[in-house]
Symmetry: C2
Subunit: 487 residues, 2 copies
């Protein structure tokens, strides 16, 4: 796995360029020099290393090679393949560009995807348009395994293209989970195989504002090709206003002692091993008003304890989910309800409420449960869209606790709720602010604690996003070589 990178002639003037070690998120170990190697788009190619565990025919990497060629050389198409960078699966993760050789190694194909992104960011152009990469050695790995972005497709419908483009942008920042908050009170855009009436009556429009089975497959496949898992959320028993329109008997499953039978469909349509069950913000006043509910509670011996009923409901769904070999994620509300009724069925809790969120992280990890942190990353909340530093200066492990507790914090998530967000403003609201969170979740905290040091690197990364067609908002006065042209 070697690439003959030609040295520049000695008399060539150093071209004007940005700091060539400019990467986002920052790798854990990086050394580089001023030694430059020119890259010729007409002879450049990615290829598999001789000893790589995957070889040509691995559709995931074959496609990634083509994709990253276009990202690095936007004005070129692949011509011939005289000089190559060899990528090898089944080796310790590292990227090396040195002395006329380049190689990218990773334990898994997913690591190769991350490394391709890193390599693509290392390449830069001089003022004449020639491509260069500097001598570089990188060892890298994610700090947290769960690095998510939540999109809400119920409060506003997001066209499939907007979701796919978000997945593109996510991969540029090394996010690996797309949390699809697909339905909620305002609309039910998921076109169910088992319950087609749900979207027929619950979507904003039964034909134009829905996600068909084919749309869902497309999103899952597109995400997978970019190393992103799709975590579906069918939030219940709250946030189900839109469900009732198509299934009039659906909104009271709890006092029947059963659980919505749609669970089976969800586990088969969405292949990820995780499923988000929601469970937040349940309004007990409706249950309280219902004599059937109250009778059921008497029978079960719950008395007037509605959190017990909520816990009973969630426990049922968690058990069904678990019987389908899936791991449940729930919003922190469920953890709070379960304080009195046992938490044995729970496994992953997403902390979202404001205030002392690290107190809650401490509490949940103390109970031995895994945590995903979302509270500090609600990017839809009002505020200037350039306030990235607020999302950067988040310290997920800064709570008193054991090493074991810290290890239970499996990651974090950027949330983009949809009250005031749709395809018209999603991108400048999300990018590059989500990238600030992405670096927090990927990089070493000590190396990335300074907002001042990060700023020029993030500005450069934002220009890279623009160059790739992502409508990332400006951080301050200034310009990019390639401005956004999509208007």
């Amino acid at each position: 796995f070697r690439l003959a990178l030609r040295r520049p002639p000695r008399d060539r003037p150093t071209p004007h360029h940005r700091d060539p070690g400019c990467l986002w998120p920052l790798p854990h170990a990086l050394t580089s020099s001023v030694e430059q190697y020119p890259l010729n788009p007409q002879t450049f190619a990615f290829d598999y290393g001789k000893h790589s565990a995957t070889q040509q025919g691995c559709s995931l990497l074959d496609a990634a090679f083509r994709r990253y060629f276009s990202l690095i050389f936007p004005d070129y198409t692949i011509m011939k393949t005289a000089s190559k960078i060899y990528c090898s699966v089944g080796f310790p993760d590292n990227l090396s560009v040195s002395a006329g050789q380049a190689s990218l190694n990773a334990a898994t194909v997913w690591g190769i995807l991350r490394g391709l992104e890193t390599f693509s960011q290392l390449v830069y152009q001089d003022d004449l348009g020639s491509y260069f990469v500097n001598e570089t050695f990188i060892e890298d790995f994610p700090r947290f395994q769960f690095r998510g972005v939540l999109l809400d497709t119920s409060r506003h419908y997001l066209p499939v293209h907007a979701i796919l483009k978000t997945l593109d942008a996510m991969s540029y920042s090394k996010f690996n989970v797309f949390h699809w908050h697909i339905v909620d009170d305002p609309s039910f855009p998921y076109q169910s195989r088992s319950f087609p009436e749900l979207s027929k009556k619950g979507a904003f429009h039964p034909a134009t504002h829905v996600y068909t089975q084919s749309d869902v497959r497309r999103v899952i496949s597109y995400a997978r090709m970019r190393g992103i898992r799709v975590l579906p959320e069918f939030d219940s028993p709250g946030h189900t206003g839109s469900w009732g329109k198509g299934q009039s008997d659906l909104l009271t499953p709890c006092y029947k002692g059963g659980a919505p039978s749609g669970t089976f469909e969800v586990t088969s349509v969405f292949p990820d091993s995780y499923i988000h069950l929601g469970g937040d913000e349940v309004d007990f006043s409706c249950w309280r008003s219902n004599p059937h509910v109250r009778a059921f509670m008497q029978k079960m011996g719950f008395g007037g304890d509605f959190p017990k009923l909520e816990a009973f409901y969630i426990e049922n769904i968690v058990n069904i989910t678990s019987a389908n070999n899936k791991t449940s994620i729930v919003w922190q509300d469920v953890f709070d309800y379960h304080e009195r009724v046992g938490r044995s069925a729970l496994s992953v809790v997403e902390v979202w409420k404001h205030g002392c969120y690290l107190c809650k992280v401490r509490q949940v990890t103390k109970a031995g449960l895994r945590v995903i942190l979302a509270s500090p990353w609600y990017l839809d909340l009002p505020g200037p869209t350039h306030n990235w530093a607020r999302y950067y200066t988040v310290w997920p492990l800064a709570f008193p606790g054991s090493e074991k507790q810290k290890r239970l914090v499996i990651g974090g998530e950027v949330c983009m709720w949809g009250e005031y967000v749709d395809a018209t403003n999603l991108f400048p609201k999300l990018w590059p602010r989500a990238s600030a969170a992405a670096e927090r979740l990927w990089s070493d905290e000590k190396q990335t604690s300074s907002v001042e040091k990060a700023f020029p690197r993030l500005e450069d990364f934002r220009c890279k996003l623009l160059r790739r067609g992502i409508q990332a908002g400006p951080l301050n006065v200034g310009h990019c070589k390639h401005e956004y042209q999509g208007v």
Copy 2:
């Protein structure tokens, strides 16, 4: 000027549609009925009335007819012209659709442009895609003559396409002035004929981040075709940081007793009778530090009174501008400086500072000067992008003063400063919030004082903007029939 609009057959069910009287901004006098007339895109056309003062060959209206045909019938091209709506210039302003006849009359071609916009908003589609217009009579006119939008192309460069699209959107809300804050401290993108070095050294990039003479002509012509004047601002003597890069002797014209000779170029390149001279936020500390400036002030008898020097400078430019038959507009700072030195040379003052802006409006009009109000419409300031009501509930004449004073308030302006705004986020920040200000500047205040009444109409108008390709941001949970597809 008549159009045979066919009545719908009696047994036709009333199609589901939004309130057909849904117009933005609201006309001053409107009556309509539930009587519907179908429109056939294949036989529909605009034409000139027999007695119209302008006839075929008026390029402005010929182009407007073609433009509005496409806006009304996005999926059709003009086929034949069997049924016509006749437009007549030189008549009292009104729009009438009734009893199988339709006509649009206006005193000027500009009035026809506004009426075409109104007519285009009257047309709606049923669920099957058929077009309709209801019986309607409208008499309309603008409340204020100056209805502006300011774009700042110095803090971020805006591609020409983004400016043209803004002009489109402006015409949909009946704005009529594009205030082009073309240069400022961060960059000088205007490619001057007389001083090419200014953009060569002062622009972010001398080739890709400039407005050529041809770009400027294109913007002016595109604006004119939509009834919009281009008001250029070359702000001085503050906000000129970028000027000095290309003309090292330019940043101290005051103590030479002269004025920048570029004024002549500006008056010839920009044909509008108004010119904005800036004059805001002058930092005296630089002048104070300069011995030449201090010596000049001694010679002129100004002592240490820097506002006097500033006044002297502005007076010179105002006089030159006036000698070129142009009317000057200045920011309120100049009015404030002139308190001690006479305001005879001033004519139009733009009020922009926060606090009690109506106190300032009162003060300026009391001095007999005209006012443009900008203070309450700084849309670039941080805040949720759906807070349109804040820009709607502005009452420009709610100050104690004479009728004569009120008449001196010639209008208002939405300002979109560029610190954190570029082509990536301009549109969802500007629209439909600017439209809230547009209605305030166009419509009768008493008829448009209720936020609650305006909301569904503005939501409908926002959907119309999306349908026309304007990336207008969402106001709340919901959907449009045609969502934004531009991602």
